[in-house]
Amino acid sequence: GAGVSQSPSNKVTEKGKDVELRCDPISGHTALYWYRQSLGQGLEFLIYFQGNSAPDKSGLPSDRFSAERTGGSVSTLTIQRTQQEDSAVYLCASSPARPGTGETQYFGPGTRLLVL
């Protein structure tokens, strides 16, 4: 079946512009996660959704970052006034189970963001 998809696959933007990254999780998966993968930093947790609500936004690096999920499905990560340090690969994952249960997270291919 279809896996997690993300769009765009690559995004080049200028410093100060806003960007929107999209994630389509596996159908029926209630949990959705965003991570950032950058050189030397590994994978950093950004935010977690259960259904449409985000019980944990603690990983968002600044108030320039926000995310929403609608219909218990598609999620959008928005970065306002992008900075060069925002350049990274943004990964989305989904899971059919609640977190803390040893659940497998299924990852999308990521969006590679480059801020010039």
């Binding site: 590994g42 803390g100 990852f107």
Partner: protein, 116 residues
Amino acid sequence: AQSVTQLDSQVPVFEEAPVELRCNYSSSVSVYLFWYVQYPNQGLQLLLKYLSGSTLVKGINGFEAEFNKSQTSFHLRKPSVHISDTAEYFCAVSGKGGGSNYKLTFGKGTLLTVNP
């Protein structure tokens, strides 16, 4: 909170040789342990995970890992590698139960390069 240390950032090996990728973790609670693999320009894929029970866990593609609670380790092994195993491997941990321990915390990754 949990943390993960992958002791080797890069491991070069020859085809058909055995390999061990090392992972140590730190946690104040009981944990679930995971190994994910990331092929170039792709998302992460689960190789195997330890939830409970037998400490030797077998995964896909001939990989296995052993949970050692006393040494807080979860090393990944394969007796004979193939060129196609060339990828980055991530060890990850999440805590059991509620609170903020649910987050999947990743190591910085080990790049396995299999040479002919």
